[in-house]
């Protein structure tokens, strides 16, 4: 993430009860029996599939693929525009942003790869994702969007 770093990164007195900063700087916290785990609501297989798709796409195209799930606000296009510069290596990347509560998907590509990832290519990604999203399958839609876009721009 670009910018916005602060020191110290972790303030020990502000950590929740049962947390401590260890000698290496890692934060160690207790998990109380019965508390819900703060995990992602996706299965391991889905996360592996997404990870594989992103790695393959980034490797074959040399364009970084980023995926975001979260609220983009009422104006999802403006939300995606504001989010894009904060993503890793934004200028050479493709951002697939999904706002499930607005039922909206926004795809942005970076300026340095705009010659390859054109408006038509990102539109392909939107089309691929939306067909899976219609069946309520979030990860599957992301994977198809990444596959379609990377296949369209990969150098052979």
């Amino acid at each position: 993430m670009a910018g916005g770093s602060s020191f110290p990164a972790v303030i020990e007195s502000e950590l929740p009860v049962g947390s401590v900063v260890t000698a290496s700087g890692r934060v160690s916290s207790v998990h109380r029996v019965g508390d819900p785990y703060d995990d992602l609501p996706f299965s391991v297989d889905e996360l592996v599939a997404l990870d594989d798709a992103m790695t393959d796409a980034t490797r074959s195209t040399k364009v970084r693929f980023n995926a975001f799930i979260g609220d983009l606000g009422e104006d999802t296009a403006a939300g995606a525009d504001a989010l894009f510069p904060k993503t890793p290596e934004a200028e050479r990347s493709v951002l697939i942003a999904v706002s499930p509560n607005q039922r909206a998907i926004e795809i942005r590509s970076g300026r340095k790869v705009a010659g390859r990832v054109t408006d038509r290519v990102v539109q392909l990604g939107v089309t691929a994702a939306v067909s899976s999203f219609g069946e309520a399958d979030l990860i599957d839609g992301l994977v198809s969007a990444i596959r379609v876009m990377s296949a369209a721009i990969a150098v052979r």
């Binding site: 609501p41 996706f42 299965s43 970084r64 979260g70 525009d81 934004a90 942005r108």
Partner: protein, 85 residues
């Protein structure tokens, strides 16, 4: 002691004890807490935002690390598309 007695004592009893302890494990919950239910797109998204990236991959050979990008500048954007479902 016959062969049968020997094998019952030295194989049968340990096997029985192992089976009892293994069986008890199945009665317990696999994790000491609840994991979130699987998310389907027709539900409301209540989790924190997630950003995934294949950051271990190298795209271009740059040695100086990431240059600071001024956040909020929209002129980094090349192509864009939106969709709803």
């Amino acid at each position: 002691m016959s062969i049968l007695e020997t094998s019952l004592i030295f194989v049968g009893i340990p096997a029985l004890i192992t089976a009892i302890i293994a069986g008890l494990c199945y009665l317990a919950k696999p994790v000491a807490g609840t994991t979130p239910a699987h998310y389907s797109l027709d539900e409301e998204w209540t989790h924190k935002p997630v950003l995934w990236s294949a950051v271990d991959e190298v795209t271009v050979g740059h040695h100086g690390g990431h240059a600071a990008i001024e956040s909020g500048s929209a002129d980094l954007i090349g192509g864009s598309a939106s969709g709803r479902w």
